[in-house]
């Protein structure tokens, strides 16, 4: 999606107008920095997000992370009682430990792939 360098105000989207580009070395006529939203859109629409999500899911299953999380959920459910548990509860139970216990290799692999994607699609 290429913007013109002029200010374009769209009535449907409320966001600050695209800043005028600084005279830096630019490869394309595109904006120097695609917005986060654009990148995100591209991420999703190209299917890359889904692919990477599946890859991450697979890696986390392999290394036992998922089982750990399920065990945490079970322990929590046991304490709180089966009928009092909400999905929200479980998310809050898992999130801190979950984010911290992703193996470094898995994280590195995914970050590398994301960076590759960003490099070919953004700045």
């Amino acid at each position: 999606m290429s913007h013109s360098h002029k200010l374009v105000i769209k009535s449907s989207v409320s966001r600050p107008p695209t800043p005028t580009p600084t005279p830096d070395a630019n490869k394309d006529h595109q904006d120097q920095k695609p917005s986060l939203q654009e990148i995100n859109t591209k991420f999703i629409e190209s299917g890359e997000k889904e692919r990477l999500k599946e890859l991450l899911r697979e890696r986390l299953i392999e290394c036992g992370w998922r089982d750990e999380m399920k065990a945490l959920c079970r322990a929590f459910t046991r304490k709180k009682g089966r009928n009092n548990v909400t999905v929200d509860d479980l998310v809050h139970v898992i999130t801190p430990k979950g984010r911290a216990s992703v193996p470094d290799s898995v994280k590195a692999e995914l970050l590398h792939k994301i960076r590759t994607f960003l490099a070919s699609n953004a700045a």
Binding site: K33, L36, I39, F43, K49, L52, K53, L56, R57, L60, R66, M69, K70, C73, R74, T77, R78, R82, N83, V85, T86, V87, L90, V91, V93, I94, T95, G98, R99, V102, K107, L110, L111, I114, R115, L118, A119, A122, A123
Partner: protein, 175 residues
């Protein structure tokens, strides 16, 4: 190009966090479902059941009961006890000995196997025998089993209920 690189790192971490959160929600939602549906039975219940089964096992393995497995007399779900070897005694048509019902099959194996390789007809006769045994009458319906002859066939057509009639006539049972 340091700025874009930094941005890139931050951005990729952002996306990674996004993916991870999404997966966390998936796991949480699945565990929630399992908890609610009761598929992964609560540890409480499991502990309770373990305790009960251990209790039952302890009471069953009473020192007053001897036996090979756990008990000599196993109590089934209707409260009936069955001796490990069936009690009723029958007379083997082949050799004329009194054999316990529970030992009948192995006995027949040896009894008939020695004479000839006449194990072909055993299946038919054993179903017939079972019919008789279920009625309680100790009449065996084997007809014309002789050790010497090569033909060891049942009486033609009689499934065994008409226990008295044998077309060949040579039988060694009590009428």
């Amino acid at each position: 190009m340091s700025a874009p690189n930094e941005d890139n790192t931050q951005l990729s971490s952002h996306f990674f966090g996004d993916l991870l959160d999404s997966i966390i929600v998936d796991v949480a939602s699945e565990c929630h479902r399992i908890a609610k549906v009761g598929l992964d039975r609560n540890l409480e219940e499991e502990e309770e059941e373990l305790r009960l089964s251990a209790q039952a096992r302890a009471s069953v393995a009473d020192p007053s009961n001897s036996g090979e497995a756990n008990n000599k007399y196993v109590v089934d779900i209707f409260g009936q006890t069955h001796p490990p070897v069936a009690n009723e005694i029958f007379k083997c048509m082949n050799c004329g000995r009194s054999i316990a019902a529970g030992r009948f099959a192995p006995h027949l194996e040896k009894c008939m196997g020695k004479g000839r390789k006449a194990r072909l007809k055993v299946t038919r006769s054993s179903t017939a025998a079972q019919n008789q045994y279920s009625r309680g009458s100790p009449v065996s319906t084997y007809s014309s089993y002789t050790n010497s002859t090569s033909t060891s066939r049942l009486s033609n057509g009689t499934p065994g209920f008409a226990g008295e009639e044998y077309s060949n006539g040579t039988y060694e049972g009590e009428p």
